[in-house]
């Protein structure tokens, strides 16, 4: 079976072709240059249920703080919140700051780490050992997403067809957007009631 065969990649060939002291621009892919270990990411996926529980509390707290964010101004808090969000999610999930987080629908496995940035499921190129076609050393983001989602309470959220990424939202805080949207939804839900009461 192909699982037992060692996968010889372009990177391996380049690496073997010359001594370590030589200039080898393509010895690793750009993806691997950015991210060399997947340990924390895989831990997060294994603990997807805990993180799901934690995130729902966290989102509630953020929503409670809506008057504060509104008081200071969402525009002003954006930068510091984004700073924290980028580092926390970057450490936990190797977040790429797409600005429209769907971790809860993908078993806490960030789909933007897929070299094809697939947000709706695996491609057909997943290797027999469950690794990525493009990055042979990396476990397929979607194989892991499926595993992670099966541990979660809302395990069927993975079935939603996701819209294409809005590139204009990159490098913005998803936490604040979700909070602002939830607050707006709450207000529109409350508005007809007060209208009826008056």
């Amino acid at each position: 079976m192909s699982e037992t065969q060692p996968t010889v990649t372009q990177a391996t060939l380049v690496k073997k072709a010359a001594p370590k002291s030589d200039y080898k621009p393509a010895d690793v892919s750009p993806q691997r240059r950015v991210q060399r270990s997947f340990a924390v990411r895989l831990w997060s996926i294994r603990h997807s249920r805990l993180l799901e529980w934690f995130y729902s509390r966290f989102a509630d707290m953020f929503l409670l703080l809506h008057p504060l964010w509104k008081g200071i101004g969402y525009g002003r808090v954006e930068a510091p919140i984004k700073f924290v969000e980028k580092r926390v999610k970057g450490f936990m999930f190797d977040c790429r700051m797409c600005g429209q987080c769907i971790l809860s629908s993908t078993g806490m496995s960030c789909p933007m780490n897929c070299p094809k940035q697939l947000r709706n499921g695996p491609c057909g190129g997943v290797r027999a050992n469950g690794n990525c076609e493009v990055e042979p050393d990396m476990p397929c983001v979607w194989v892991k997403a499926w595993e992670g989602s099966q541990n979660m309470v809302n395990s069927d959220k993975i079935l939603t067809v996701q819209k294409p990424v809005d590139q204009s939202l990159r490098e913005t805080s998803a936490w604040l957007r979700v909070t602002a949207q939830a607050a707006a939804a709450r207000e529109t839900a409350a508005a007809p009631k007060t209208g009826a009461a008056a």
Binding site: Q10, N120, G124, G125, V126, V161, K163, P164
Partner: protein, 363 residues
Amino acid sequence: MSARQRDENPAGIHLPLDPLPGHSSRGRLERVLRRGEFAVTTELNPPDSADPEDVYNRAKIFDGWVDAINAVDASGANCHMSSVGICALLTRMGYAPIMQIACRDKNRIAIQGDVLGGAAMGVANMLCLTGDGVQAGDQPGAKPVFDLDSMSLLETVRIMRDNGKFLSGRKLTTPPQVFLGAAVNPFAPPFDFRPIHLGKKIAAGAQFVQTQYCFDVPMFRTFMQKARDLGHTEKVFVLCGVGPLASAKTAKWIRSNVPGIHIPDAVIKRLEGAQDQKKEGKQLCIDIINEVKEIPGISGIHVMAYRQEEYVAEIVDESGVLKGRQPWKREIRRDDQMVADRLDHILHDEITETQVDMVKTAH
């Protein structure tokens, strides 16, 4: 002209067919599938040239054996003639191409433009793919686009067709009438997710699916069982991907170098044990077709015979999947035929005709 063929526009072979109720396209493939006939599709090896004859010659060998021809979009991330270009040539000649759209090379602006362009040329079938990564092809330094994924691409084209709108919400004056397809690979992990993933593709707009090469029939059977249990096979036409392996060596190479193609050891053993490996590869393909055609929920086969296109006709014939039916075949028009015969007569038959003689024979 002989009696008009079944799925052909009398005003011209290159024109779309009459719209039928319940059909979303005006093409031949959808008609064949909705009539409940076992469909056969194949793949055209895209030429590395700017000569239209290359496309016509490569399409000609499938004449009368297939219902639709996939025009691949730089498959394996290798540069070839574009799928839009191949479709333009094929539709002119009356063929039914399936225009493949890969998300690797084009962003949503280009893709939506190509969908309109393709539909305007008479492309009735479109297959939405993610596309292989650029590292697999001849130009690994290219920028991978992947603006959409296969799922959001399906949804985009469906919205264009059903709602008459671009992704942005801007209105189309004439929406594209296309039969939407997707690819599925039941032979790659995560196996539990694959049938569910098919359901997602159906929700996004897939009306037919073509599978990756099937060499492991029991695995495919399990996948189909799950798909049937989920009720997917009633909503989508499944065409099983099959193809001949040239030799055991090729099979081994594909297994270790082409991700996503699963070839069991038994297949390699069978090829290695054969006297004529090429012939055995063809026979193996026919045997697989005969097994998969019996699986409930299978509506057809997709024969991928890369660089062995000449075997497609034999494989289809010997497996008997068409049950005597002949798919649309490009035939020369009667007036063209008369001119050709007449020219042939004058040039090669060494005759001297006088006007007087001609009048005599005419009476």
